[in-house]
């Protein structure tokens, strides 16, 4: 017998008493491995202790009560089918609700996406205007713009007349 077989015998002893043949093999192993003797004895002691665990008391009418409860359960097909009907009625409505909610989420997402696209497009067009402004002529050209703007229209005509001479 080797170490593995010894372990297998020990695991077998957790579930059941060893057979005479197994016991003999084990004793032969322990004779040449005295260091394993203490462990084996403690295993055996624990097995004995666990064997002593008593059965928990069960009510004498336990079986009768369980069978009665099962018979009651079986005798309620009407109530159960009503519940099933309610479930059948609720489930499609629940599915419809889920579908509406999914649609609402999609519409909201589309609206938000569109608003963001519009904002981006507007900002892009504003950037184009700014970039165009960057290539305007020297600001000195419009230095007297305000003064010229304030000149009365009549004076302009007079000026044109002078210039046209």
């Amino acid at each position: 017998m080797n170490e593995t077989e010894y372990r297998e015998l020990m695991e077998a002893s957790w579930r059941r008493p060893l057979t005479a043949a197994e016991e003999a093999r084990l004793q032969a192993w322990l004779a040449v491995h005295p260091e394993a003797q203490a462990l084996w004895e403690s295993e055996l002691s624990l097995n004995h202790l666990l064997e002593q665990l008593p059965d928990v008391p069960v009510a004498s009418n336990f079986t009768a009560r369980v069978v009665q409860a099962a018979q009651r359960e079986a005798a309620q097909p009407a109530a159960r089918s009503f519940l099933q009907l309610v479930r059948q009625w609720l489930l499609p409505r629940r599915a419809t609700g889920v579908a509406w909610a999914a649609l609402a989420v999609c519409v909201t997402w589309f609206a938000v996406h569109q608003a963001e696209s519009n904002t981006k497009a507007r900002r892009a067009s504003e950037l184009v205007v700014i970039s165009r402004t960057a290539v305007l002529s020297d600001p000195v050209v419009v230095e007297d713009f305000d003064a010229i703007q304030r000149l009365p229209y009549a004076e302009d005509e007079e000026l044109f007349a002078v210039l046209n001479k």
Partner: protein, 201 residues
Amino acid sequence: MTERSDPDAALMLRVREGDFDAFEQLVEKYKQPVMNLVYRTLPDATEAEDLAQHVFLQVFKSAARYEVSAKFSTWLFTIARNLCLNEIRRRSRHPADSLDATFPDSEDQPMRQVEDAKAVPAPDSVMRSELEDKIEEALSELPEKQRTAILLCRGEEHSYEEIATILGCSVSATKSLIHRGRETLKQLLKPYLRTGEWKEK
């Protein structure tokens, strides 16, 4: 696994056809081991019995979906363990609620009739009872998986493969759980292991 190799599976197939006698036979056969497991997971005799009853009702309700793919007892103890775990979870969320809140139909049933075996303890049974209490106490200190593995391992009802299925882990993990649990038990019960007190009782 077929109903021929597992007579309980054959009974369960009869339950599926609405045979209450077959159901009664299954309850009668398994009430004690189920009760032992449930009580040692939820250490309250009344609530453990309500839960054990619910385990069998669950078996009855699930009969229509039952298929002979595993040993009946493996299926039964998987249901029992799952219901115990649900109850532990429920208690942690609603500690003040009794089990009747979970299984309200249990109130409509006849009173329990438990033989009071410990009503008048004989003097020589006092020490045995004390030792049993110590073993129960030590078991209750183990993590749930280790305790369940050790309890299912006791006796020859379940193979390691079946215990592994009930616990939802591999066979090697199951053996490891049992080994660790047993090591803890040895530590907790050291005085009793050393003196061999159990042997005299």
